[in-house]
């Protein structure tokens, strides 16, 4: 790929071309389009390889257990902390309107709707992608630059079923469970802060949630968290395996992986919002 790009550049530098600026812009656009296509293709190929390992199931269970603990249990404190503040910020933002219209009965509904359907899953997924996704890319990238993956291959151990499949499964499963916990903590944070600043009773707050929201509102957020988990798992594993060039390469890969996860989360959220309504 890089060779053909280099050839193109050599060809483009030949005399007889007039507008240098326009050419450079077009070349840059083309290069980024090719790059994005390459990454999307690579991610889909990786997904195909992962899916093939489920028929018949070829998964390392010890590695799966270790990853579940590392990605799930150890992320709980930061997810909980984030969720409390997210809930509190929701109430702070709502309180100016609440005081204007004295609509205390609707605070629970408003905060619950936003947290359960949108903000909870998205912010928890972003934190998860920062903590677990980035760390996963860094770990796999380090294995690639220190040739540990080639070492596994030379021992006839399949890196996909030994390293990638357990991570893939535990990221999807743990993001789902963390979203359930995070939503609950965010609602409690909102209720607590509503009590402290606006003097809304817990009972009124949770009554608003249970009366005006349907179970479907909870399920939508959880379906979203499954899709976000898939996106984070695929992008972090792909960029981790595609690392080139030592320690700076690992840093660049982590950066690319969190950016790709963030874009993927918001774009898929947009389409999911339309699909489920």
């Amino acid at each position: 790929m890089t060779e053909s790009l280099a050839q193109l550049e050599v060809a483009a530098k030949q005399p007889g071309r007039v507008s240098r600026g326009a050419e450079r812009v077009v070349r840059r656009i083309g290069r980024s389009v090719v790059g994005i296509a390459q990454q999307t293709g690579g991610i889909l190929v990786l997904l195909g390889k992962i899916v093939r390992r489920f028929f018949p199931p070829d998964i390392d269970y010890y590695e799966l257990k270790r990853n579940l603990h590392k990605m799930g249990n150890r992320s709980l404190p930061i997810i909980g902390l984030t969720s409390v503040f997210v809930g509190a910020i929701m109430v702070v933002q709502a309180s100016a309107y609440v005081q204007q219209f004295s609509a205390t009965a609707f605070v629970g509904w408003g905060a619950g709707y936003v947290i359960l359907r949108e903000l909870g899953p998205i912010l928890i997924a972003l934190m998860f992608s920062g903590r677990v996704g980035a760390n996963n890319t860094a770990e796999l990238g380090t294995m690639v630059v220190t040739e540990q993956i080639d070492g596994l291959r030379s021992l006839a151990i399949d890196p996909i079923s030994y390293l990638i499949v357990p991570r893939f499964l535990s990221m999807i499963g743990m993001l789902f469970i963390l979203t359930v916990f995070g939503n609950l903590i965010a609602l409690c944070g909102a209720a607590l802060f509503g009590q402290l600043t606006l003097g809304i009773e817990w009972r009124v707050f949770f009554h608003g949630i249970t009366e005006l929201l349907k179970p479907w509102d909870v399920y939508v957020g959880l379906i979203k968290s499954l899709v976000f988990g898939l996106i984070i798992a695929l992008s972090s594993c792909y960029f981790g395996l595609a690392v080139r060039g030592g320690a700076p390469g690992v840093g660049r890969a982590v950066n690319a992986s969190v950016v790709a996860s963030a874009v993927g989360i918001f774009v898929s959220d947009y389409f999911l919002t339309f699909l489920v309504d």
Binding site: F85, V92, Y113, L126, M127, S129, A247, P248, N255, T273
Partner: protein, 277 residues
């Protein structure tokens, strides 16, 4: 960090489970206090060298290009989708209750200016810019370039963090104001295309007053200052090769995201008590 402090206390603490847990908690607290002190010292040194330090020609501009121009496409894409999602949700909810959509635009613009552009946009910037800064500085640390700077009697904070700090304060504010505009345009198009709200009715800035503008701009400024400090701290405390760079990047993303959420909470609450209560 906590692991080897825990290991140092292990011989005496082996007697009981409770003592071991207590030792873990204490070690964690000491680590956090140390980290907070170092973070504070980097913050103060950054402020000092911003005023008193040497001025390298073009360093700030290069950092501006890196932080600002190269995040523009990413931020525009993400914020466009966020705007569409928010307007879609609020319009469907209002249609379910009152069906009167003519104030949607005014309220939406007020919320975007006061909070959403700054909070969601800065989390995106924390992800991209924070990971980039930590990866860059972290690779310099593990390849001993920072020690070389120290040996030349050059303060790493002055050389590495101050230009990024200045650039980030300026560019984050510029980018988040741009994000406000993008969110409003994408929201307006969604309301027009899907709910038949006339763009002229949607584009109603009568509800935005000084209080909203002041809150929103304070947030932009604070987030712009926090991201380079937190990720610069994570980069400078890197240790241990390629894996260390990966860890530093991970911590930078998590803690700069958390810093923006915490600052958002503090600024929102202060503004609530200052302006609205």
């Amino acid at each position: 960090m906590s692991a080897h402090v825990g290991a140092a206390v292990a011989p005496e603490a082996r007697s009981g489970w409770v003592r071991r847990r207590l030792a873990d908690v204490g070690a964690g607290a000491i680590d956090n206090a140390r980290a907070a002190r170092l973070l504070y010292s980097i913050f103060i040194r950054t402020l000092y060298y911003s005023v008193r330090g040497r001025r390298e020609k073009g360093a700030v501009l290069r950092a501006c290009y890196d932080i600002g121009n190269r995040s523009l496409f990413f931020l525009t894409a993400v914020m466009g989708f966020v705007g569409m999602i928010m307007v879609f949700h609020s319009c469907t909810q209002i249609n379910r209750i009152t069906g009167d959509l003519h104030l949607v635009g005014a309220t939406y613009i007020q919320l975007v200016v006061r909070d959403f552009a700054a909070s969601v946009g800065s989390m995106m910037l924390a992800t991209r810019v924070g990971a980039g800064i930590a990866a860059e500085i972290g690779s310099m640390v593990v390849t001993d370039q920072v020690d070389a700077l120290r040996m030349c009697a050059a303060e790493p904070v002055d050389y590495l963090i101050v230009p990024r700090f200045k650039a980030s304060v300026v560019m984050t504010t510029v980018l988040l104001v741009w994000a406000m505009f993008v969110m409003e345009v994408s929201g307006m198009l969604t309301a027009w295309g899907m709910f038949n709200v006339n763009p002229r009715i949607f584009w109603n800035i009568s509800m935005v007053d000084f209080r909203d503008l002041a809150t929103g701009l304070t947030k932009c400024f604070a987030f712009g200052a926090a991201i380079p400090i937190v990720s610069g701290y994570c980069g400078l405390t890197t240790f241990g090769g390629a894996e260390g760079v990966g860890w530093a990047t991970t911590r930078a993303v998590v803690w700069s995201c958390f810093a923006t959420i915490l600052l958002n909470f503090i600024i929102s609450t202060t503004a609530l008590y200052l302006f609205w209560v």
